[in-house]
Amino acid sequence: MNCTYRIISYVIMGKKRDLKQIDAIARECNMSPPVRKAFGKFIENEKANGDMGVLNDKGDFTWEELQQKAEEFLNRF
């Protein structure tokens, strides 16, 4: 997998930021649209199972955490 670091504009907040990050990682990892959709579900499922990120108190994920999650997600496909 070739997930390179990418800077996301943090001017965009909240939901849009989260969706843009998922989309950006999906592009970096060459995920097809259905796989990208499943990845968004996977991330939400991880949070629901208590595997939270450290970005904020809602358990959202940092870019680096999302990269690791993408690797785990794709490796188990």
């Binding site: 939901k15 849009k16 989260d18 991330i43």
Partner: protein, 173 residues
């Protein structure tokens, strides 16, 4: 890969989008909304049609529909008998978001009766049985680059509307 797309000015697309999009999604009319769910970023998702488990081992306990609608980051509202039950916004608090998520669950197990799009505003109205409506109000001046909404279809195609007046229907097989 077959891609149909339109990038155009409002004047050119205006007479067509409100006719073309309903034609593409016509086969979904009459389907039951089996599931209302949310993915990362609080994206609202509605699953219609035949339900099947995800392929991924960690998602096998979750189901997805043969028709999968995603609202992306567009604000949405739910109406019942023309009464507004909830309106969402990007700046909603966690508590407001939690309440909205509960309310929109009322659409589960309801049959989709109609789906219309307004050419000027790109407002999408999904009408369900028992006089429920889900209304998306895309922010046309939004510069996030995110689509207004998307629809995964059983034909292995992805219909995407937005950002702005751009739309595409793409083969994803």
């Amino acid at each position: 890969m077959v891609i149909t797309s339109v990038i155009s000015t409002k004047q050119v697309i205006q007479p067509s989008i409100e006719k073309i999009i309903p034609c593409i999604i016509q086969p979904m009319i009459g389907e039951i909304c089996h599931q209302v769910s949310f993915s990362y970023g609080d994206e609202l998702g509605l699953d219609f049609g035949e339900m099947s488990p995800y392929d991924h081992p960690k998602l096998k306990h979750l189901l997805k529909g043969s028709w999968r609608f995603g609202a992306r980051a567009s604000p949405w509202a739910v109406k019942h008998h023309d009464q507004t039950l909830v309106v969402t916004a990007e700046a909603d608090t966690d508590e407001q978001t939690a309440i909205a998520k509960e309310i929109v669950k009322q659409l589960e197990h309801k049959k989709l009766l109609d789906m219309t799009i307004e050419a000027d505003t790109l407002q999408l109205t999904m009408s369900f049985e028992d006089s429920y409506q889900l209304i998306l109000n895309p922010e046309l001046d939004d510069d996030s680059g995110l689509a207004c909404w998307e629809l995964f279809m059983p034909t292995e195609q992805l219909l995407t509307v937005g950002p702005g007046y751009f739309w595409s229907c793409t083969s994803i097989s």
